[in-house]
Amino acid sequence: MNPTGAWSPELEKVAQPVATAGRESSLPLDDPRVIQAVREYLAALEAGKKPDRLSFLARFPEIASPLAECLDALEFMHAASPFPAEKRVSRRHGHRPRRGSLGRLPDFEGNRAGRHGRGV
């Protein structure tokens, strides 16, 4: 483990690209089919769908292994996105939230947790 939490060459070695990490993943990650498939999966997630992983991978048997690893991370990052599907749709249709407009806020004056009010 890296005690500093920073990127390190050692971690990079551990995290070799799927394409070179083992015999089962012999295709390069920049194979257009991998890119296209990952893009397609992302589009489904962003449309609010939850694709069936096994069915999806079954469509791409030749690239299933590297694709599966990309999808793990893709789901992880998508889940962390501050703009889930329904909000992305509204942005595309010109209803992008005003900067700083984050929905209804509680009464600020009555609940302010300032420098001296940080106790949990």
Partner: protein, 205 residues
């Protein structure tokens, strides 16, 4: 992993409350990546990245260190919430400094707290819980803490493409423009970054 196990957290908090400065330092340091990521997202949104988030985070850490006696929680959720409040306070000061009229709005600090909290929340916990093994692990922790730690282990261009596409929610053409790359190059970089992240998650988790 640079963070303490959840099961050890309460013990560390108790030790830190008891005045063990080195434990407090270790405890807070485990959330540096998290606060840095939240600060970056907020600064990018409000100030278009005119300010370095690391200075803000360092200031937040100093205040957390100084005011730790005010923290009364025992869980990671409570600790991250407390740290976000400190960060929101400092962010509000910076935004007020840079943004004139809008910055004088008294709701700003609370608004930033809400914004940081939202950035911390997973958009789709069901998806995380149902699928990949690192994601299942993540479901039991503060998701954005884990995301921030994992991203910190990636090289800069990988980290950047994932943050821009997934956390700043830019389109691929926007990402390409921001990074000064072609769309095709961004596609390849993105997929490689995802594959690398998957490996890092296996290590970090």
């Amino acid at each position: 992993m640079n963070r303490v196990a959840q099961s050890d957290l309460k013990g560390l908090i108790d030790q830190a409350r008891g005045g063990d400065a080195s434990v407090l330092g270790k405890l807070l340091e485990g959330y540096r990546n998290y606060l840095t990521l939240l600060a970056r997202l907020s600064l990018q949104k409000r100030l278009q990245g005119k300010l370095d988030e690391s200075d803000l985070v360092q200031e937040a850490f100093l205040e957390a260190y100084r005011d730790f006696c005010q923290f009364r929680g025992t869980t990671e959720k409570e600790l991250t919430s407390w740290l976000r409040k400190i960060l929101a306070h400092n962010l509000a000061n910076v935004v007020r400094h840079y943004c004139g009229t809008r910055g004088r709005d008294v709701r700003l600090e609370r608004e930033l707290e809400v914004e940081l909290e939202r950035s911390s929340q997973i958009a789709d916990p069901g998806l995380v819980a149902a699928q990949s093994s690192p994601s299942r692990e993540a479901a039991h922790r503060e998701q954005m803490v884990l995301v921030a730690d994992a991203l910190s282990h990636l090289r800069e261009d990988y980290r950047e493409v994932l943050i821009l596409r997934h956390l700043e929610s830019l389109s691929f053409p926007e990402v390409a423009k921001r990074m000064g790359r072609t769309l095709s190059s961004v596609d390849k970089l993105w997929v490689r970054a995802l594959a690398r992240l998957r490996r890092v998650l296996g290590v970090v988790s």
